[in-house]
Amino acid sequence: MTLTRWQRPDGYGVAPWGRSYSLPSDLSQLLQSFGNVFDSPLDASLATQWPGGRLPAVDVHDGKDTVTVKAELPGMKKEDIDVSLQDGVLTLSGERKGGRDEANGGVSRSERWFGRFERSISLPYAVEAKTIKATYTDGVLTIELAKAEEAKPKQIKIEFN
């Protein structure tokens, strides 16, 4: 088994902000514990679009045998969401439709965002693409993937002579 260094592909990655943002302390500790994999600033447009911008908030859970990605996307229809996986990069995209006919009255306050979005996430572990399962409940898109055999944690027996 070879250990290969996890490389984030060019372009999009998980952390959507550039260095100028200050992170809540526990989150920044979490990121630091992974050895600065979120180092380089990303595509500048991502930095300006978060938070509260045009990208869904994403969580990546690390289970023993699975990797789970959750994205907050309230108010969508299943058929307007696209999920694709290629070379260890999970891409969520789609179009948030909504808004009301402005001719029939006015908009007093508009905080929700609509329109196309696309977000690519480098998965932290190798996964079995065939096991991908996506569900959309209560406005949260949940994608579950089984870790590839070589990515699962293993007990290593040490022989003492």
Binding site: G52, A57, G63, E72, G75, Y136, D138, G139
Partner: protein, 131 residues
């Protein structure tokens, strides 16, 4: 013409919340407010909240919307990466007194709470015929 939101009050007013309540962390959900001659429509984004987790409360002219998330904030296994706060939602609005409280209705679908606040008949604009 007065609107639904004169200001967004951050604390539940006028009653002081109990000490335990103060420790709960809430986040303010994003909301769109539309106004028509018939009344107002609020679209509140509450991802991760189902119908059972929603509570809407009108006290005088303060409308409080609360959304409790269905799943636990800390799942088994760790977070590799997290952007969601996992906290429950809460937001308070000061509503137009012309709203007919008894006719407020709501619908919850895929994390969006749509509240319809109809204006009382007397408050609706009406044509006045001039002889």
């Amino acid at each position: 013409m007065s609107t639904v939101v004169n200001r967004n009050t951050e604390q539940a007013a006028p009653v002081q919340p109990a000490a335990a309540e103060c420790e709960r962390e809430y986040i303010r959900p994003a909301v769109n407010i539309y106004e028509t001659q018939e009344g107002y429509v609020l679209e509140v984004e509450l991802p991760g909240v189902n119908k059972e987790g929603v509570s809407v409360h009108l006290d005088g002219n303060l409308l409080t919307v609360e959304g409790r998330r269905a799943a636990p904030a800390q799942p088994e296994g760790g977070f590799f990466y997290r952007e969601s706060s996992g906290a429950d939602f809460q937001r308070v609005f000061e509503v137009d007194p012309a709203i007919e409280a008894g006719k407020i209705s709501g619908r919850m679908e895929q994390g969006i709470l749509t509240l319809t606040l109809p204006k009382a008949e007397a408050a609706k604009p009406r044509k006045i015929a001039v002889a």
